[in-house]
C-alpha cells in the first residue's frame, strides 16, 4: 500500500484534525481529570457522547451500561470499520490524576484513546469523504477493559445487569459488533524508544478467579482456638501457589497474580472471611487452563490446611490477541507517512506482551489491530504513568487511524473487503459466547 494514496482525502481530514487540535487533546485531558472505573464511567460516557454528537453523529448510548456507538455512513452501508476507545480507568490511588475518593486513575492511558476516538471522528466527519468512501465507520467507546473490581461486577452480574464482566465481551453479547467488519484501537505505551508506533505482537489470554474462604470468627485474644482463620488459609494458598512457579514454562508466558480484597474484619477477631481476586494468564488458553488447575489445587490446599470452606468462582477473562497483519500494514504505512520513516516497530506476531485485553476477544471474531504508540512515560498501571506527548499520543494517532480508515474504504472499500476476505474469523459469535460462557464455573470445597 502506498501511503500517498488518497492523499487529498487524508489531507482534508488532517486539516480538520489540526483545526480542532485543542478540542481533541482537551477531550483526553478532561477524561484524565475525571477517572471512572469500568461499568461506572457515567460522566466519561456522557461527555464522550456529547462530543460525538457535537459533530452531528447519532450516538447510541447505554450499550453494556456505559458503552457508546456512533456510525457514520458513507456511500454504502458496509463494510464497517470500527474505531474503538476505552472509557474506563484503573485504580492507582497514588497517581497524580487519581480521584481522591475512589482511587480511580488513568494510569493506562485510556483517556488518550478517547481523544483519538474523538479526533478520528473529527477527521472522518468531514463532508469531503461522503462520496469517495464506501461503507461505514463506527466510533465505539467500550466500558470496562480493565478486568478489576471482580466482586462488584459479580454482584452486578447476579443482579442481571451483566453477563460478562468486560465491556467488549458484553457488547459482543449484545450484538453491538454484529455489523462491524474490522476494528482498530491505538493504545499508549511507555516503552522505549519513545515516539514509535508498535504493530504486531500478541497478548496473553486469561481467566479470572474470585476466591472466598469462610472460616469461623472468634475473639483473637481470648479464644483463638475457637476460630477458624480464613486469612491463614489464604496465606497457605499464596505460599502454595508460589511453589508452583518453578513448574511454569517460559514458552507459556504464565502469569499468576492476585490481590486480597478482604482479609478479615477487625484485628481482634479471627478472620472468618478472606477474599481474593486474581488472574491466571498464558500465551494460549491451554496454557491458562493447565495452570489454573494448579492454582485451584493450591487454594484447596489452603482450605484443607486450616479446615475451612472455599468457593472459587472462575470467570472468563480475555482471549489472546490476534492482530491482523494486513490491517497492520496499512496502519504502519500511514504511521510512517505521518510520524516519519523510522516511526514503526513491528513486533513478531507470536511475541506476547504479558498483559491481556478484551480486544483479544474481538480479534477472534473479526480482523482487529491493537497497535501501541510510545507516547507515555512511567510504568503502566503505576503511579507515574503519564502521557508525555499528547501530540503524538492523540493527534498523530488519530491521523494514522483516519488515514487507515480512508485507505480501507476508498475505491469502493476494496482494501476493507480484501482484509475481510483474507482471513476467516477464529470463531462465530455463537461459538465465542458458548466458549467463554463455559469458562464460568463455581467450585466449592470443604477442608476436612
Amino acid at each position: 500500500m502506498n501511503a500517498n494514496n488518497h492523499a487529498g482525502l487524508k489531507g482534508a481530514a488532517f486539516r480538520a484534525i489540526d483545526h480542532a487540535r485543542q478540542d481533541i487533546i482537551g477531550v483526553a485531558q478532561a477524561v484524565l481529570a475525571t477517572p471512572e472505573v469500568g461499568f461506572e464511567e457515567e460522566k466519561t460516557s456522557a461527555f464522550v457522547a456529547s462530543k460525538l454528537e457535537s459533530l452531528g453523529l447519532a450516538v447510541r448510548r447505554r450499550l453494556a451500561i456505559t458503552g457508546l456507538k456512533a456510525v457514520r455512513r458513507f456511500a454504502a452501508a458496509s463494510p464497517t470499520v470500527a474505531v474503538i476507545g476505552e472509557l474506563d480507568s484503573v485504580r492507582v490511588p497514588g497517581h497524580p490524576g487519581a480521584n481522591p475518593e475512589t482511587g480511580a486513575a488513568h494510569a493506562c492511558g485510556h483517556h488518550a484513546q478517547l481523544g483519538i476516538l474523538f479526533g478520528a471522528a473529527v477527521g472522518l466527519s468531514i463532508p469531503e469523504l461522503s462520496g469517495p468512501l464506501a461503507g461505514s465507520v463506527a466510533f465505539v467507546a467500550t466500558p470496562a477493559e480493565e478486568f478489576i473490581d471482580v466482586a462488584r461486577r459479580l454482584a452486578r452480574r447476579d443482579a442481571g445487569e451483566l453477563q460478562f464482566l468486560s465491556g467488549k465481551q458484553e457488547m459482543v453479547r449484545l450484538g453491538a459488533f454484529d455489523d462491524v467488519d474490522m476494528a482498530m484501537l491505538v493504545h499508549t505505551s511507555s516503552e522505549e524508544p519513545a515516539g514509535r508506533f508498535i504493530v504486531g505482537g500478541t497478548s496473553n489470554g486469561h481467566i479470572v478467579q474470585s476466591v472466598r474462604y469462610t472460616g469461623r470468627a472468634a475473639h483473637a485474644g481470648g479464644a483463638p482456638h475457637d476460630g477458624v482463620n480464613a486469612l491463614q488459609a489464604m496465606s497457605v494458598a499464596m505460599t502454595a501457589i508460589n511453589t508452583q512457579r518453578e513448574t511454569f514454562e517460559e514458552k507459556d508466558v504464565t502469569r499468576v497474580h492476585g490481590i486480597v480484597t478482604k482479609g478479615g474484619t477487625s484485628v481482634n477477631s479471627v478472620p472468618a472471611e478472606a477474599v481474593y481476586e486474581g488472574r491466571v494468564r498464558g500465551r494460549d488458553m491451554a496454557a491458562v487452563d493447565k495452570v489454573a488447575a494448579r492454582v485451584e489445587r493450591c487454594f484447596k490446599a489452603g482450605a484443607l490446611a486450616i479446615g475451612c470452606d472455599l468457593e472459587i468462582t472462575t470467570v472468563p477473562g480475555y482471549m489472546p490477541l490476534r492482530n491482523n497483519p494486513r490491517l497492520d500494514e496499512l496502519f504502519a504505512a500511514n504511521a510512517r507517512s505521518i510520524a516519519g520513516p523510522n516511526s514503526v516497530v513491528t513486533q513478531p506476531y507470536d511475541e506476547t506482551r504479558g498483559g491481556s485485553t478484551d480486544m483479544g476477544d474481538l480479534s477472534h471474531l473479526l480482523p482487529v489491530i491493537h497497535p501501541y504508540v510510545t507516547a507515555a512515560r512511567g510504568s503502566a498501571h503505576g503511579a507515574d504513568y503519564l502521557i508525555a506527548d499528547y501530540d503524538l499520543a492523540v493527534i498523530q494517532s488519530a491521523k494514522v487511524v483516519v488515514a487507515t480508515v480512508i485507505d480501507l474504504l476508498a475505491d469502493g472499500a476494496r482494501a476493507a473487503i480484501e482484509v475481510k476476505q483474507g482471513v476467516a474469523p477464529a470463531m462465530t459469535r455463537t461459538e465465542y459466547l458458548r466458549t467463554q460462557s463455559e469458562r464460568n464455573r463455581v467450585v466449592r470445597y470443604r477442608g476436612i
Partner: protein, 448 residues
C-alpha cells in the same frame, strides 16, 4: 551403722540411715558407673554395652536379673516376686544424638545430653543401699530395679522398622515394659531425672504427652533445570505443609501446651533433580490426650494440604508416643520429705509443667508414679551444653532420696505403701492403656 548388723526391730530412721551410709560407702563406685555410661553413649534399643554394665553390677550385688527385656532392658529384683507391694525403681539406658556434645560418640554422635547415665547410677545406688546394707531383709515388699531402654523418642524410621520386624510394638521402652507385663505386679514406680533448672530437687511436675509421625511426601522426579514442569516437587509439598502447620499455631489453647516441632530427614536426593521423596519426622505434643488428638488431626490436614498443593501424595504414619505425666501426690510428699533431709529444705520445690515428654507419663497412667527432678546439671537439656556438674547431687543424693522413700513405703510390712496408696486406683488398666495406644496408630497414604 556397720553393714549387716541391723536389729530386727530397727526403726524406719535406722533403716534409712543404713541405706544412706551404704550408698555413701560406695559413692565413688556408683558415680563411676554413671561416668562409664557417659563415655559410651548408645541410643534407644541399641544400649548393649550399657545393659551389660547394669547386668554386671547386679551380679556384683548378688541381685538376680533378667536381660533382653524390650530388646535391651535389664530388670533385677530384691524380694519375692509375689510380694503384695512391689516398688519399681527405674533408670533409663539410652542417650540422645548430639554430635557437638563433648562426650558424643565420634561414630554415632550419640551423647548423654539428657543425663540418663545419672539415672542408671541413682537406680543402682538404691540397689547398693538396700542390698549390701541388709535393709532389704527388713522390707515388707519387693523392689524391682528396671534399666529401661529407649526413653528418647528418636530415630523414628529405624524404630518403625524394628516395629515392622516384630521386635517391638511401641517405640518407647516403658510402653514396651507395660505391654510385656513387667508392670503387672508393680504398684509404685519412681525415677529421678537430672535437671539444670534446680539447685536441689523438684517434685510433682507434669509433662506433655505426644504422638510421633513419620511422613513421606511422594512426588515425581525430573531434571530441575531442563524439565521442572514435568516434576512434582515433594520438597515444595513439605514446605507448604510446614507453613500450614505453623499457620495453625494460634488455634492451640495455652493450657494445652501444644508443641509441634518437625525435622526434615530427607529433602531430596540430588540438587539437580526435582525432589520426589521428602521425609519429615515430628512430634505432636500436648498436655492431655484430647489436646494431642486435636493437634494431630490438624497436622495431618496440613500435611495433606502440602501434597494437594503440588499434586503429589503423602504417607503419614502416626505412632503412639507417650502420655502426659501425672505424679502421685502422696508419693510426691513422701519423696519431698526425704529430699529435704539431703538438701536445704527450701531447695526442694514444687515443679511446674514441662513441655517435654517422657514415657514415665505412660507408667504414671498404670501405676502410682513419681518422677522427681534433681539438680547437678548445667546447660540446656538436649544440647551440647548439657553437662553434669555435681555427681554427688545428681547421682548419690538422688539414690539416697529414692532409697529412703522405698524404706518409707516398704518397712513395717509395707505399711507406708498401704497408707499412701489407700484407695488409689490408676488412671487406666493395662488393657485400657494398650487400647488407647493402639488406637493412636495409623498409617495412610493420601492423594487428594
Amino acid at each position: 551403722m556397720p553393714p549387716g548388723r541391723l536389729p530386727a526391730n530397727a526403726s524406719i530412721d535406722d533403716l534409712k540411715r543404713a541405706a544412706v551410709d551404704e550408698i555413701d560407702r560406695h559413692a565413688d563406685e556408683i558415680v563411676r558407673v554413671s561416668q562409664r555410661i557417659l563415655a559410651a553413649p548408645e541410643t534407644g534399643f541399641r544400649e548393649a554395652k550399657t545393659a551389660r554394665l547394669v547386668a554386671a553390677t547386679f551380679t556384683r550385688l548378688g541381685i538376680p536379673y533378667r536381660e533382653g527385656i524390650a530388646v535391651t532392658g535389664v530388670i533385677g529384683r530384691i524380694g519375692a516376686s509375689n510380694a503384695a507391694v512391689n516398688v519399681a525403681v527405674m533408670g533409663e539406658l539410652d542417650s540422645l544424638i548430639v554430635a557437638a556434645h563433648p562426650n558424643a560418640d565420634p561414630d554415632t554422635s550419640a551423647a548423654h545430653a539428657c543425663g540418663h547415665h545419672c539415672q542408671i547410677g541413682s537406680m543402682l545406688g538404691v540397689a547398693y543401699g538396700l542390698s549390701l546394707s541388709g535393709v532389704a531383709d527388713h522390707l515388707g515388699g519387693a523392689v524391682t530395679f528396671m534399666a529401661v531402654p529407649a526413653e528418647e523418642y528418636i530415630e523414628l524410621e529405624w524404630r518403625s522398622n524394628l516395629r515392622d520386624s516384630g521386635k517391638i510394638e511401641f517405640l518407647g521402652g516403658k510402653p514396651e515394659l507395660v505391654r510385656l507385663g513387667e508392670l503387672d505386679h508393680v504398684q509404685i514406680a519412681m525415677l529421678t531425672h537430672t535437671s539444670s533448672d534446680y539447685e536441689g530437687f523438684s517434685v510433682g511436675n507434669t509433662s506433655n504427652g505426644m504422638v510421633g509421625k513419620v511422613v513421606r511426601f511422594h512426588g515425581t522426579a525430573a531434571h530441575a533445570g531442563g524439565r521442572p514442569h514435568l516434576g512434582i516437587n515433594a520438597l515444595n509439598a513439605a514446605h507448604v505443609a510446614l507453613a500450614s502447620i505453623h499457620a495453625q499455631r494460634d488455634t492451640y489453647r495455652d493450657q494445652d501446651t501444644v508443641r509441634i516441632h518437625p525435622i526434615i530427614t530427607k529433602g531430596g536426593t540430588v540438587v539437580n533433580a526435582v525432589p520426589d521423596d521428602v521425609r519429615i519426622e515430628t512430634y505432636v505434643r500436648g498436655a492431655s490426650v484430647p489436646a494431642i488428638v486435636d493437634a494431630s488431626g490438624k497436622v495431618d490436614r496440613a500435611l495433606r494440604a502440602g501434597a494437594l498443593a503440588v499434586g503429589g501424595s503423602v504417607s503419614i504414619k502416626t505412632l503412639p508416643g507417650y502420655l502426659p505425666m501425672r505424679q502421685h501426690p502422696g508419693l510426691t510428699e513422701m519423696f519431698a520429705a526425704n529430699a529435704k533431709k539431703l538438701v536445704e529444705p527450701e531447695k526442694v520445690v514444687k515443679g511446674g509443667h514441662n513441655g517435654g515428654s517422657t514415657d514415665m507419663g505412660d507408667i504414671s497412667h498404670v501405676v502410682a508414679t513419681i518422677h522427681p527432678l534433681v539438680g547437678g546439671a548445667a546447660g540446656v537439656a538436649h544440647t551440647e551444653h548439657y553437662l553434669i556438674t555435681d555427681y554427688s547431687l545428681a547421682v548419690t543424693r538422688a539414690a539416697k532420696a529414692m532409697a529412703m522413700t522405698v524404706v518409707d513405703l516398704l518397712s513395717g510390712g509395707a505399711a507406708g505403701a498401704q497408707r499412701v496408696l489407700g484407695g488409689y486406683r490408676p488412671a487406666m488398666t493395662k488393657a485400657d492403656y494398650l487400647g488407647l495406644m493402639r488406637g493412636m496408630l495409623s498409617d495412610r497414604t493420601y492423594t487428594e
